[in-house]
């Protein structure tokens, strides 16, 4: 994991002192609300429906147990005893008090965490695959690159007042777990024919009101040029992105209006000036960052374990959990374990302070003191010994953290919605819960198989509804909450945007609607087809016919 040096520490202390003074001036009436707004946003602080909300960055999803315990402490002492893990791999506190926020930031800095640029019109937390560094399908570990981008983007003076927010994702695996193509910039780590490392650069992706899949602006960018090329893209966007209408201000609109070829020409012309200049990355800097992400002290272990095999035979629940929540590891004798934070009745992604402490203890005991946050709002223990799985499972069971639904229907992505968020048109957590209750049975879930169901409470699409196999969007119809359903979205290497099924539904209809959609799939699927495969083969019409069929 990356560790701060004196420069990192000093800059973070500078930032806290700056925000402490800004908060003091605001509370003393010396700073107008409109002037304080972007300052607090760029320090993670929203004003929400009921209270402020503080969004803390978990850089590219990597978390140490000391950091998780600090989050638990903050939840306990400054909040209401819980926190929410978000689709941006961040953590959100829903009840902080404004005068205490500088103190919270100071506490975070003690464990090398921050809330820099987690909102506002600036470059946000860079995200990546939650299995980076341990996935057997990996081309190259994305974490050093994410850290390089984190540092470049942190307090970048030219890009603190962009037309709109700006999100970068990096993917170093074959199977994209980072929704890379729906980011303002998506970076796929690639090797060219001579084995040199670089990036395929996508630009102009994004969800929100106008969902767009990113387009390739450069097939191969040698890694040395990463930062100067990012500078060039951002400068063109900063100068030419629309500022007259916030719904048309994201880079995706600029790229669409200009066309990718014209946009590319501008970027390349801009890049000519900075290419090979001082922003060119050095081997030394790459190696400096890489050495923070070396393998932990793995033991040499066989890839089988008699006790695990025995428990698999005798304990069906353990079997289910292992089947869904445990993945193969690059290292023999190790496994990757997902803690699916989707227990029915709990808000997706929420964790209590006690659970956080508990998970930290488990990560200390079983996974080299580290864990990850996934954009599916789950936690991941990346380095668990195969032989430790039974003990880990028993422990997780006790805290209701062994929900065996990873990658299945009930592992849904769901934004906090109208229960918390002031932007939302509709609630989303109760919809998730109603659907989860209807299908809360492992045999049913397993029969349906791999599927993604994503719920957003408004057009801003924090719940990634456009890229869910089933996407649910809360809409406001004359003051009443309704839900629009789309099918066929996906956020992997074959990213696709869902297609709207038809007229929207009332809240209490939603479990039935999902049920009807699944009936069509189960009747029509061939062989081992996943939901998305069947959908892609048969199209949306059969689903429309069945869902909207008049009862006899």
């Amino acid at each position: 994991m990356y560790r701060y040096d004196n420069y990192d520490r000093q800059m973070q202390q500078d930032r806290i002192a700056q925000f402490r003074d800004q908060t003091r001036r605001f509370l003393a009436g010396e700073l107008e609300n409109a002037q304080f707004l972007p300052l607090r946003l760029q320090n993670g602080l929203y004003v929400q429906r009921l209270a402020p909300m503080l969004r803390v960055a978990v850089p590219y999803g990597c978390l140490s147990t000391a950091q998780l315990r600090k989050l638990a402490h903050i939840a306990r002492h400054y909040d209401k005893g819980y926190a929410h893990f978000s689709t941006r791999q961040n953590v959100q506190f829903n009840w902080p008090k404004l005068p205490e926020v500088p103190d919270i930031l100071a506490e975070l800095a003690e464990v090398e965490m921050h809330a820099n640029q987690t909102s506002g019109n600036c470059i946000r937390n860079t995200t990546t695959d939650q299995f980076a560094g341990v996935s057997p399908q990996e081309i190259e570990d994305s974490r050093p690159w994410c850290e390089i981008i984190r540092q470049w983007s942190t307090f970048h003076p030219e890009f603190a007042h962009l037309p709109r927010k700006f999100k970068i994702a990096v993917c170093g695996t074959e199977d994209d777990q980072a929704a890379t193509q729906v980011h303002d910039i998506g970076l796929y780590i690639v090797k060219n024919f001579t084995g040199d490392l670089g990036f395929q650069v996508l630009v102009g992706g994004g969800l929100g009101r106008t969902p767009v899949i990113g387009q390739i602006i450069r097939e191969f960018l040698p890694w040395q040029h990463l930062l100067s090329y990012l500078d060039a893209i951002l400068r063109i966007y900063n100068q030419e992105g629309r500022r007259d209408n916030k719904y048309k201000a994201r880079i995706k609109i600029l790229v669409k209006e200009l066309g990718i070829d014209a946009f590319r020409e501008k970027v390349e012309a801009e890049w000519e000036f900075s290419k090979d200049g001082p922003a060119t990355l050095t081997e030394a800097e790459f190696l400096r960052c890489k050495k923070f992400f070396t393998d932990p002290a793995y033991a040499a272990l066989p890839d089988e374990d008699a006790a695990v095999s025995e428990k698999l035979r005798s304990d069906i629940r353990f079997n289910n959990w292992l089947e869904r929540n445990v993945r193969g590891h690059k290292k023999s004798g190790y496994r990757i374990v997902t803690l699916c934070l989707k227990a029915t009745g709990a808000a997706p992604g929420d964790l209590s302070a006690e659970q956080m402490d508990f998970v930290a203890d488990l990560a200390d005991g079983y996974s080299f003191n580290e864990l990850r946050v996934s954009h599916e709002q789950n936690l991941v223990l990346t380095d668990v010994k195969l032989s430790d799985l039974p003990a880990l499972y028993d422990a997780l069971q006790k805290e209701h953290l062994a929900t065996p639904y990873t990658g299945l229907l009930n592992d849904m992505i769901c934004c906090p919605g109208g229960d918390f968020c002031s932007l939302a048109n509709a609630k989303s957590i109760p919809i998730a819960e109603a659907i989860q209750r209807r299908f809360d049975d492992f045999a049913v879930q397993k029969n349906i198989g791999e599927i993604t169901l994503n719920i957003s409470g408004c057009m801003n699409a924090c719940g990634h509804h456009h890229v869910g196999n089933i996407g649910v969007l809360g809409v406001d119809k004359k003051g009443e909450e309704f839900y629009q359903v789309a099918l066929g979205g996906s956020s992997d290497r074959q990213t696709a945007l869902g297609k709207v099924l038809g007229p929207s539904f009332a809240q209490d209809e939603m479990p039935d609607v999902v049920d009807k959609i699944l009936q069509v799939y189960l009747q029509r699927r061939e062989g081992n087809e996943r939901f998305i495969d069947t959908y892609n083969r048969i199209g949306i019409e059969p689903f429309q016919e069945h869902v909207y069929a008049k009862a006899d």
């Binding site: 420069y7 800004q22 470049w152 003076p157 900063n238 000036f273 001082p278």
Partner: protein, 169 residues
């Protein structure tokens, strides 16, 4: 009282008369001031006539205008280019300053005008601005403090072209 400060936070004299965006040649001829800061469009359209008044000129660009309003000769001779912030949240002029310094090699004074507030000063300085025409509401002592809000920054910038990764001890 409007206040002009430099990158060290020192108060500076401001002998420049700032003319509004719709200013005409006649307005320039009528102004008693010797040093006149004219809008970019007027400069581009009336440069010869303006110069024949015998006054000294600086040019200001609005946030939606680019350096294309200036010629190579302008960049060699203009003592002052001012960049406007219609609102402090409009960040275009940060990039314009970068283009002037890094691509066009402009070495004269770049001044921030308009909605210039305390909390943006450090970043403005980092992007190559050399003077700041502060809004009336900004306290001088606050502004002076703000110029040193951070000890350094990570990215390569105009003020410190060497990024931190090349400077780390």
């Amino acid at each position: 009282m409007p206040k002009l400060i430099d990158t060290l936070g020192h108060l500076a004299e401001n002998p420049w008369a700032l003319l509004p965006k719709d200013a005409t040649l006649e307005a320039v001829q009528q102004t008693p001031d010797k040093l006149v800061l004219v809008p970019g469009k007027l400069w581009q359209e009336q440069k010869a006539a303006l110069l024949s008044t015998g006054k000294t000129f600086g040019v200001w660009l609005d946030s939606n205008e680019t350096v294309s309003l200036l010629s190579d000769e302008d960049l060699d001779t203009l003592p002052l280019i001012a960049l406007n912030f219609p609102t402090f949240m409009d960040g275009r002029s940060y990039s314009t300053a970068g283009v002037l310094r890094q691509q066009l090699g402009y070495t004269g004074e770049i001044r921030a005008i308009g909605d210039v507030l305390r909390d943006q000063l450090f970043f403005l300085k980092r992007c190559g601005f050399s003077s700041f025409d502060l809004k009336d509401t900004v306290k001088l002592e606050d502004a002076q403090k703000a110029l040193t809000d951070f000890t350094t920054t990570y990215a390569a910038t105009v003020e410190e072209p060497t990024p931190l990764f090349r400077r780390r001890a």
